[in-house]
Symmetry: D4
Subunit: 215 residues, 8 copies
């Protein structure tokens, strides 16, 4: 594996899983990296893995688990999973945002946190959000996932008393520009206290939330 | 006045004031157009008029009125103003959106409608909007003016039962791009029943609202 | 169906059909949402449904109708359809804009309005529009659908005396940018009284037109 | 004048005036270039010259003429002006487009052509254009100048039987993007036979028209 | 054929073929339009026709010809083709620009003009252009087709004494943005006398060239 | 002060100062809002206040303090300032980023946190950062401010074990696009655990950091 | 081969291989060009050749070699390869950037230079770069290939004492815009002495590096 | 001077002057940095210095020289200037590009190289370039500066046998977008062997050229 310089220090230092970004790698590269990583780390995960790729990976790594909605592969076990204190609360505006939210939720769980899910509470029907106020009130850190116009994080941050991580998704059409519209909405939010991550970056949101809970 | 072909039919046909777009014209052009128009129409108005321009215009047209926040000049009188049935309800997300909202409100009034104003009810403090629910419930047509991330029309349209006209403003900074961010938000709204006009186009919103009330 | 929070109040409040946005959902999700919705609403519709998806949906929902050009599925019957007063007039600039216009027309009909269709009257052959002047004169509300350069709504709004809803389509090539060019044209129209919706959003245009007719 | 390599062949070859692009040059550079040019050419002109710059230039070049709306300076006389056969017809959509149209008209005249002007016939009041149909029918070549949404060239090209040169202007606001919106409109026109030049490039349009008349 | 309003006046007025834009139409629509058109016009053509579509069309219209590089279908015969005086000279910067150039060339020929082709004379090897100087010197009107950085029209217009029509192509990669880069290059050309058409619009360039030759 | 709906609940709820966004407001509006706010809150601050505006405000509010680099006005006193546990560490890439970083630092201090400043450690001289490794190692939460290419947060996040908030600045020129270039850099960072705020939004970064320290 | 004007002077003049840009050409065109070229040049290469295309080419040109990661075909032999003095050092930020880096490396080798490869030393784990400092110190010219946020060239140029060529790649997602984000990063680098090439243009980087070594 | 971490190693290592980026700094900051730098380096320079700023700096640093076209300040003397072997050849397309080219030329001279200047040889008059062929043939490294459409580097690189550094300038108007158009042209050049720097970055081009000559 001379093509990839694996960073043995990172997960030791951070106490989080070792992660492979699967999207731009060949299955053979992913297999080789996972095998090297697992020698030194209790939890290894790979993101952006299509089902067909997973099936190819599993032939070489039989104990590889698959989370199909999140498109995440992982090697872990109840014993190896760290047991952290804290819960990451994840909201979506719509049904179509769930895959990105699941990338965040599964990552959070593989980091040892509890993931609380609340789906389909977008602003076009504000009562859906208002009738779940307690979820926001009780949150330690919030991940808010939204496509289309991406207005949900603004409303949530105005109600919440904890850090809000906003994740734009590429859900939408027309002048949505594959998620640029909700990205801009989130960056321009008139509610302070929001940190934005890249479009569809559920993984990054969960890592940031994990860092916050450890802070 | 051979440089401008004034359309005598339009205001007769529509029953709305004759309008001059002031922004890209010299004071001399504006004066000449207003003088020609007033010969045939009871109400004449000009938009995007800075105070200094108004002062120059007034020397040639002494009965010209000025609405400084809206930056509108007009010739009209209680007798000439048509008395239409219907009210146009105008909301802003913030204080800085007021000039655009006033352009809409004054235009509405010069068209003979009643303008109901509700300022500073942006989504980052959603209770401000919720405690004004009755304003939305009682509206015939809504103009919702917002800069920054422009999320207010989505929430309002989810609550309202009447047409919503969304006006993005250039209020904001950074990745706001002079109003492109709220414009995209409004076009991508997950709430149906919203018509969007150009950035800062309070005038156009009021004309559309007027057309709707007459429909 | 815990993944989707269906808003039982919306259609009751608005008297319009319940709607599912089909594009970003799996067939199983669509089936489950339609089944839940139909328990409480006389008319249920789903947009952006490809023929293959419809065939899968029909196995679970045998009475589901399909409008292939509009790509809309619906459950409704003459008895359940509300009978509203008013007609929505829909124009297209070209032949290729018809699918978006049909999304608007079928939505209008499922809301209980009459849809009047006038196709292929784009501005490059202005006599085609002029020889249909009566259609514009008799309209209560106009939906104007155009791709390419999107100039039709400007000309129509200059001729019409009623609200105009402009729908840009992604028809075009090169510097058209999948509909951004007609979108900008419509937002910048020098004719006042135009409300713009998102690219290809025939559905949203029809709902706005319906709101206007009820206003 | 070693900083500028003047191309003595061009005007001889083309029979058009020698031209200085004034916008990005210091007055001293412009003076030096004009003086060198006039030694060899009967007609010399400079574009994008503000009045203050002209006043500075005139101190060194007393016989320099100034066209204030077009912002063009020129050295020419009835004898030196070539007398070409042909007329260039120039239309504007609005009043604010006149300066760009005048840049075209004055350039055309300095090239020895006749310039026919028709201002303020934009598409929002289509009867203004229709009642001037004869101007289009009798044209040899048309220059159509428009800002805002820039729809005028499409309509004109659909009516005309001669080449159409479209000039977008930076007149507009909001989502107009300093002329990008009419530029895109013109490039995407569904009417064939239109050649587009850069935003506000009245000069280039006139040169192209002149080339066409000589073709 | 109520979906398409065919403009019987256009080709009579212009003396050019009737044209169908094939890209966004179904084969059945194209067949129906061609059949209606051919009843009244000697030459009918359709652009943007893939080979598979042609094969489907030919089953209904056996005498339909196909130009595979240009992707044009046509009905015409030596007798029906008008015999115009004049030649349209077409240059490409590279080999990959040939399909767009052929769209122009075949259109020119179907309009009755002679098409002179000169391929692969891009600016990165300027001697290729210089050694073909006579082609430019003898041209009546030039169509210059270029992708990548699109610099060829600037150089050609500096050498030519006739109108130049610039056609950007989507050939390129990376920061080329599907032809936007050469489009901007051509619009910003420091050589005057260039008219630009949309990306890949060989057809439009030929029609404009034809108009010029008739001017 | 009917134009602004002040949210008395927010600061009570959050325990942070009440804040006025000064950029788009008139001095009279700012004065009125501050006066209303100070009746109920121990700490009131206003951002984006130019020195001239401050001088006008001070005439009505004599005890108003001014932080000229941060362009912040505030009313506070040692007694009123809450004394929170925790330190916010702020880094800049260059000297020109200091004003944005000071907006963050002063906001942090007005929220009762300690602000640790480390300026001019941009990546083009990586030893400057490496020789300050201990600052990163000891941080609880990091705010990293960078213009130009904005690469600093990526390097810092790779070294840090705590949450990183990235603030792009509009420092730069050419293809920097007023901060869009560093904004994109930060959103695309290959280091996970970074939350991005709007261009120049030092204030928002500090509020998010404060929320994190309280989480 | 009349469609392609092969430039026999270029490789003689430059001493570099003759090159075919394969991406926008048909296999038949590529074959014909390679055959013509090889008659006059010792080394001929083609870039952007997919494996399937190579297999088709090989049937006509049996001695054609293929470099699958670089997607380059070549005709060369140890005797024909020039033996230049100098080494081109190539770095990548990640594993997914390797194909672009290999395009550079193989081109360098076909030009007769030595290529030194160092993969996966991106800035998010800065110690990977620091522990390879000697590679940078000993370089004559550096090619630095990076996608995502593209920060690596800035750090490398700050450490290096030789020219740095930066190659953005389209590796990334979301607000990466197919490589525009790293392209902007590289253009805005605060480290001087960096020349940027087009997105994914490994070939161009190698030719520039070769020119530099010969300078 | 604690606000700026001056990098004493850089100029020692590179043998080039110490440089201050003047644009985003206050005069007091610039004075302090220059004074600190000159203690350790024979040559110190500052870029982007307007004449008024220079006059303020000179009061504190009496021996500061000023190059008004280049807007560069410097402290140097014939003795301190290193005497390097090699010449940097600088071309401009137009007269308005000279300030950027002078920034490159003066920087080159302060680095100890000879600067050869050739102005106003843009592609619209290609004979101006061809009649200076010997300048290109004799160059060691070329800096080519161009605004408008930026085509000059492509033509030059096709003729040259040495590395070409392309500098886009913000000279132009309309669809030029402050230099984005020539930037894209240069990145998309079909001539290989071009390295591009940021818009108007004459300084960076000279440093890269200097690195190349030392390579
Ligand atoms: N879904 C994801 N979204 C964003 N970043 C990711 C994702 N998955 C992995 N990464 C990042 O990519 C890094 C691994 O990249 P690589 O070395 O190319 O496998 C991880 O350390 C993460 O920081
Ligand atoms: N074709 C369409 N275009 C735009 N909006 C739509 C369309 N179809 C459905 N919608 C909207 O999407 C909402 C349903 O979204 P969902 O809850 O995700 O099914 C509806 O209430 C509509 O407001
Ligand atoms: N290849 C083409 N590029 C640009 N415009 C075209 C092309 N082919 C046809 N057109 C235009 O499209 C019109 C026909 O559009 P339609 O009525 O939709 O078939 C023709 O009259 C032409 O003006
Ligand atoms: N005109 C210029 N264009 C681009 N980069 C420059 C320019 N002048 C200075 N720089 C860069 O800016 C650095 C100095 O930045 P600073 O430390 O902020 O003064 C220098 O080392 C150069 O790399
Ligand atoms: Mg929903
Ligand atoms: Mg407020
Ligand atoms: Mg048609
Ligand atoms: Mg007008
Ligand atoms: Mg070639
Ligand atoms: Mg510095
Ligand atoms: Mg890696
Ligand atoms: Mg010149």
């Amino acid at each position: 594996g001379d093509f990839a310089k694996i960073d043995n220090h990172r997960s030791l230092r951070t106490g989080f899983p070792e992660v492979v970004w699967g999207q731009d790698k060949t299955p053979q590269q992913i297999i080789q990296i996972i095998k090297t990583m697992r020698a030194n780390h209790p939890v290894v995960m790979a993101t952006r893995i299509e089902r067909e790729v997973y099936q190819e990976l599993r032939e070489s790594i039989p104990d590889l688990q698959y989370y199909p909605v999140a498109k995440i592969c992982a090697i872990s076990s109840p014993e190896t999973l760290p047991n952290r204190i804290g819960k990451i609360t994840i909201l979506t505006a719509g049904t179509a945002d769930i895959p990105v939210a699941e990338e965040a939720a599964v990552t959070a769980e593989l980091c040892g946190f509890q993931a609380q899910r609340l789906w389909d509470v977008g602003v076009a029907g504000i009562h859906r959000l208002l009738s779940n106020r307690h979820v926001i009130d009780e949150a330690d850190v919030l991940i808010v996932v939204a496509g289309m116009e991406g207005a949900l994080p603004s409303v949530v941050a105005g109600m919440a008393d904890c850090p809000v991580i906003a994740v734009p998704t590429s859900v939408g059409y027309g002048a949505n520009f594959s998620g640029v519209s909700p990205l801009l909405t989130m960056l321009n939010s008139c509610a302070a206290g929001i940190g934005v991550v890249n479009i569809n970056n559920g993984f990054g949101a969960a890592i940031l939330a994990g860092q916050i809970l450890r802070a």
